[in-house]
């Protein structure tokens, strides 16, 4: 393909290649940029979703920024993000490293671990809700007292349940990423380390973890950005309750927009969500260093 056929061919390719991006660009503009601008404009209006749209300057922003519900929702969102990251990352790295082994039983296990990923969040939420029902759920069915707690009715318990289910659902996915990452590490590194007398644990911390740096950044970005938009699972499971204990920002936005008919403030929250997502993604990229393309095997 790169056989030089003279200057005409090269110029043509330069002229044509950008065009290949047009369909993708159209999609991106149509489904990301246009709605984004629309939301930004809506955040400066008053609209109940039914009648006319009235420009109202900063009213919506003032309402959102002075509402004590916003810092609370931000806090819950941050907590879900941080705690689920802290639970998922170590578990996924360990599982991924384990599954990277070539033994056959590990291949079978990796298939089993993959199952939660095949289920939709709504189905998972409905299933867990039924299992955790204090009167007709698992605890009552098995007659085990410790299982029949008011799981979704106490603020911290409900929060813990949300983090647990999120982790249960997404650890398989991230394990898969780490499994791939670990399998990319050249065996020669481990052989050299073994010759130098490094044990398995030493090998893990000195070779596997550092070599996984970019995989960790990729997986963390997915986790953190993903947890900003958690909605379906929490909506079905607790509807943000009890009270507002699990009301994350995305849920707050939905409730304001579609239940309370306040599209202006809901759009303002959407803008906050977008800005937060961009800022965090940027931050994570910086943490990974600017030269993401650098060789991970330097000096090896």
């Amino acid at each position: 393909m790169s056989t030089p056929t003279g200057s005409t061919g090269r110029r043509d390719r330069r002229g044509i290649l950008p065009w290949l991006a047009v369909p993708a660009l159209l999609f991106f503009v149509g489904f990301a940029v246009v709605p984004l601008v629309g939301v930004l404009l809506l955040s400066f209006t008053t609209w109940d979703g039914i009648g006319g749209i009235h420009p109202s300057g900063l009213t919506s922003w003032r309402a959102v920024l002075t509402d004590p519900g916003l810092p609370h929702a931000l806090w819950v969102t941050f907590l879900v993000m941080a705690v689920s990251w802290a639970v998922q990352t170590p578990a996924s790295i360990l599982l991924g490293t384990f599954l990277a082994g070539r033994q056959r039983y590990r291949a079978v296990l990796s298939l089993v671990y993959f199952v939660p990923l095949l289920l939709s969040s709504a189905a998972i939420a409905v299933a867990y809700k039924a299992l955790l029902d204090p009167n007709f759920g698992l605890g009552a069915g098995l007659g085990t007292e410790w299982l029949s707690k008011d799981w979704l009715g106490r603020p911290w318990l409900a929060f813990g349940v949300v983090v647990f289910i999120v982790s249960w659902q997404f650890i398989p996915f991230h394990s898969l990423i780490y499994q791939g990452g670990v399998q990319q590490i050249p065996r020669s590194l481990y052989e050299a380390a073994a010759l130098d007398g490094a044990g398995r644990i030493r090998q893990f911390f000195s070779i596997t973890l550092p070599q996984l740096k970019y995989t960790i950044i990729t997986s963390s970005t997915l986790m953190v950005i993903g947890s900003l938009t958690f909605f379906d699972l929490i909506f079905v499971l607790t509807e943000g309750g009890p009270g507002d204990a699990t009301r994350v920002l995305a849920l707050d936005m939905y409730k304001r927009g579609f239940q309370a008919n306040l599209m202006g403030p809901a759009s303002a929250i959407a803008v906050v969500l977008v800005l937060m997502g961009l800022a965090i993604a940027l931050l994570l990229r910086r943490l990974g260093g600017r030269d993401a393309g650098e060789s991970q095997l330097e000096g090896a």
Partner: protein, 440 residues
């Protein structure tokens, strides 16, 4: 090589553009006035047995109708609430809009999305006069009628499990003090005094609706509805909020009520399995107990009564709250032809003899007058006559608060009710929070 690439590019573009155009088109099309020019469109709720009764009425109308056809689309309850709002906002509403009246209808009226039906009712008094007068309140905005009430009246009723009452050896409560006295009796036996699907929030609200009415009379909530400043701070309101928190503190409700939802019917199951002794719920609960409770209803296990009075309260113990009816409005964006079909349907197709009978068979009391005989002959005669009695005798039949208020105020209300039942706000904080959204 260059030719190869350009051909691929063209193919790529050719494949990409129609796809994106088609996707873009998806967003703007949909069932609306631009459908089949001659037919009126009608959206309502899915879910049996009600769905069958609704579509049956339309089918009979379509078969008999000379003027035109009605095309029906059905939606699941919660999906419908969002869908209809979006469709109306986008100017793509169906000709006939099914709804609950009250605050949501008012938001449609304010936006000029539904037609004023007052002149039509004036010209067709026979249509109006055959329906319960109490059903028109929630259809009326600023003195004009914007919806036709139909289907059934659904008061909130205090259900109880007769078998559990016999086992414990107690009588159904005749007053609030009786309720508070029953709570320790049932708890001592390991039975929850009241079942409650607290996560659904409107379930908790029913308690406040009755306590407000029994203690302070219907004026207390009416003042909120009318948008009077600080109306929530009425002493009767504070008293009612305190009483309900007292009941919660005394373990009056089933353990874990705030994680039980009403749509899973787990709250109903608690009552018919005898894990709870009583439950405050809509009259539709009867049908659920009948189909899911085994021999609970047929074996005379289910008791029912109106909410008892509160000592020293001003409200009439005959008053009730709930859904006075369901409502049909006509979209102002529909064509003149479609509106004619819709009105023809209202006059000749809604609550006909066959439909009235079918509603009664589902365990509901239709809002058409003169069904006493059919009710008496029906399978659930005792219950249906009881509901009919409440609906026709209540001096005030209040509409459920979340339906009566605007969607904005209703959301704040439900949110604070959930917190009140969590004991995470005091009655004082509750009234402060709600005073802020009065009239919004």
């Amino acid at each position: 090589m260059a030719i190869h690439l350009s051909r691929r590019t063209l193919l790529g573009l050719a494949a990409g553009i129609p796809a994106s155009a088609a996707l873009a088109a998806c967003g703007s099309s949909g069932p609306g006035k631009d459908g089949d020019g001659g037919a009126a469109t009608y959206w309502h709720l899915s879910g049996q047995p009600q769905e069958g009764v609704r579509t049956g009425a339309v089918e009979r109308f379509n078969e008999a109708g000379s003027k035109g056809r009605i095309e029906v689309t059905t939606f699941e309850n919660d999906a419908y609430k969002t869908k209809i709002k979006t469709a109306i906002g986008a100017g793509k509403a169906p000709t006939i809009i099914w709804g609950w009246g009250g605050g949501t209808l008012r938001s449609y009226v304010r936006a000029g999305q539904v037609d004023d039906l007052t002149p039509w009712f004036d010209r067709n008094p026979e249509v109006k006069n055959r329906l319960f007068p109490s059903s028109f309140g929630a259809a009326t905005v600023d003195g004009k009628i914007y919806a036709m009430p139909f289907e059934s009246v659904e008061p909130i009723v205090l259900f109880y499990n007769k078998r559990v009452f016999d086992d414990v050896g107690v009588e159904p409560p005749q007053s609030w003090d009786d309720i508070m006295a029953l709570v320790p009796r049932f708890n001592a036996e390991g039975i929850a005094p009241f079942s409650l699907g607290g996560q659904s929030r409107w379930t908790n609200m029913m308690w406040l609706e009755f306590l407000f009415d029994r203690i302070g009379g219907p004026e207390v909530f009416q003042a909120v509805f009318d948008g009077e400043k600080d109306a929530w701070s009425h002493p009767a309101a504070i008293d009612a909020l305190t009483k309900v928190q007292d009941l919660i503190k005394a373990d009056g409700f089933i353990k874990g009520f705030s994680s039980i939802t009403a749509d899973s019917n787990a709250d109903q199951a608690l009552l018919y399995t005898g894990k709870a002794a009583m439950m405050l719920h809509g009259s539709w609960s009867y049908g659920i107990q009948q189909t899911e409770g085994g021999d609970f209803v047929s074996g005379d296990g289910l008791g029912f009564m109106n909410f008892p009075p509160v000592e020293g309260g001003k409200g009439d113990p005959g008053n009730s709250v709930g859904n006075p009816a369901q409502y049909l409005s006509i979209s102002s964006k529909a064509t003149a032809e479609q509106k004619e079909i819709a009105k023809d349907f209202f006059a000749t197709g809604v609550l006909g003899d066959q439909e009235v009978k079918e509603w009664i068979d589902t365990g509901a009391v239709p809002i058409a007058k003169g069904s006493e005989k059919l009710l008496a002959e029906s399978e659930g005669a005792e219950f249906l006559q009881f509901v009919y009695g409440i609906a026709s005798n209540a001096k005030t039949f209040g509409q459920s608060w979340d339906q009566a208020l605007s969607p904005t105020a209703a959301e704040t209300l439900l949110d604070n009710i959930a917190r009140l039942f969590q004991l995470s706000v005091s009655p004082q904080q509750f009234t402060d929070n709600l005073n802020e959204v009065i009239g919004k």
